[in-house]
């Protein structure tokens, strides 16, 4: 399916306007803040990465960042969507050298 180079559309915080799940450069060059927890969901299919995030986000202090490592393309859309639904902050999604992304989420409450 043809999915890249999307013009216009919505700008919801740090969410990229082109939700490309292919190995393209991520929109943010490098994370500005070190996560205080990293959840390894590589090889796990959605909704498992989201379930792991929901279970563990309260283990970090308020306003700290959790990194979810995932390579299921659904996670690329679903983690930011989860943040929007749960009022947490999607900080950014960064390409991993081995494929997949580190998706950074800030605990808001």
């Amino acid at each position: 399916m043809w999915r890249r180079r999307t013009a216009g559309g919505h700008a919801s915080g740090a969410r990229p306007t082109a939700p490309a799940a292919s190995p393209e450069p991520a929109e943010t060059p490098a994370p500005a803040e070190r996560p205080s927890l990293t959840i390894d969901a590589l090889g796990r299919k959605c909704p498992i990465p989201i379930i792991m995030l929901a279970e563990q986000i309260n283990n970090v202090p308020m306003r700290d960042v959790v990194a979810v490592l995932a390579d299921d393309p659904a996670a690329y859309t679903d983690v930011p969507a989860w943040c929007r639904l749960k009022s947490h902050e999607h900080v950014g999604s960064y390409d991993l050298p081995q494929g997949g992304w580190a998706i950074h989420v800030r605990r808001n409450y």
């Binding site: 999915r3 013009a7 393309p73 690329y76 859309t77 969507a81």
Partner: protein, 356 residues
């Protein structure tokens, strides 16, 4: 349609008596479909599917406009037939620009206008309404922008033909008979007089679509479109009220659900929602066991293992996705039963995943 099987079996392009009768039936059906879609009969061709109509519409219009440029502009949530045709165009050296949508799945009309105004734009494509989330697209605004830029617009009316009036101002119009309750295997490709189009297929003695038309199915398709258009005044609002009910009740009955698509500017019969922490395939299987044949845009239910490009472009949850299309004649009781079984099914699936 049964009568048409007897009378319309012959090849309408031949000269013997039965062929002339088939030709007459075909022309009558063409005139009827043309009238209902707001086209002239000589602008309408029948294809072997809605997908083929789109492929021919997109690639033929691009060929016809080769001298104007090689840019194709399309909405990001178009049907896969449009995006696959775009892929072919790109592989052949053309350029493709997709225009993004908002959270409701509505194309950004301003960005679309800007995209078509760029030099070298050969064709623009926009659906009347989205096939997965039901959101109605700003076709009027986009039509005006295309007219101002002198760019032909292909309008994919597959989802709305027979249900909503076809917005005027299209250059190319495509539709699919089975979507309006007609038989499978009949698509419509209408090309406005004066719009340049060259078949991407090898030379054929027939019209725009290659081969001998399925006359009995086309006769059935025309009759079904007439029937759908006539009953829509009553059936549309009835289905729409049932959709409103599902949209309101599902989040009340099931925790952590996101209902997607435009709540107001939408098709009367489609409603889509996603359940957090639920595996879409399990949800489909359980609903199927309960007697509901529903679809999903979740990746685990797709042959490609990719989530729906529509949900992705909208930025909404892709997992645990359920798309309910209400068929004509569906009863209030059917909706009650769906709302009765859903909460427990979702709870069971969540508990197998350790979510309570």
């Amino acid at each position: 349609m049964v009568a048409a099987l007897d009378a319309g079996w012959a090849d309408p392009a031949r000269l013997y008596g039965a062929a002339r009768r088939a030709q007459m039936l075909l022309e009558r059906a063409r005139a009827e479909v043309a009238e209902l879609l707001g086209a002239r009969p000589d602008e309408v061709s029948f294809t072997s599917s809605g997908t083929q109509a789109v492929h021919l519409g997109v690639l033929g219009s691009l060929r016809g406009r080769r001298r104007a440029g090689d840019r194709l502009v399309a909405g990001a949530v178009e049907h896969s037939s449009v995006l696959h045709a775009a892929e072919v165009h790109e592989r052949d050296g053309g350029t493709v620009e997709t225009v993004g949508v908002d959270l409701l799945g509505r194309v950004d009309a301003g960005a679309f206008a800007e995209a078509v105004s760029r030099p070298g734009t050969a064709l623009a494509c926009l659906q009347t309404a989205n096939h997965e989330v039901g959101t109605v697209q700003p076709v009027e605004e986009v039509t005006a922008a295309c007219r101002a830029a002198g760019v032909p617009l292909l309008v994919d009316a597959a989802q709305s033909a027979g249900r909503l009036p076809v917005p005027p101002g299209w250059s190319v119009l495509t539709a699919s008979a089975h979507k309006w309750g007609g038989p499978a295997g009949v698509g419509v490709l209408a090309i406005r007089k004066g719009v340049r189009w060259r078949s991407p297929y090898p030379e054929d003695e027939r019209e725009r679509a290659p081969g001998f038309e399925n006359v009995p199915a086309i006769v059935g398709a025309a009759a079904a479109l007439r029937a759908r258009a006539e009953e829509e005044a009553a059936e549309g609002p009835r289905l729409s009220a049932l959709v409103d009910r599902i949209r309101a009740e599902v989040p009340r009955l099931v925790p952590d659900v996101e209902v997607v698509g435009d709540p107001d500017h939408r098709l009367p019969h489609i409603v889509t929602f996603s359940c957090l922490y639920v595996d879409g395939e399990a949800l489909l299987t359980e609903l199927d066991k309960a007697g509901f044949a529903i679809s999903s845009g979740s990746s685990c239910t797709a042959s490609t293992l990719r989530p729906s490009h529509v949900l992705e472009a909208m930025g909404v949850l892709t997992h645990g996705n359920v798309r309910v299309s209400l068929p004509r004649g569906v009863s209030e009781g059917d909706v009650d039963r769906f709302l009765a079984v859903l909460p427990d099914i979702v709870r069971r699936i969540r508990s197998t995943l350790g979510v309570h």
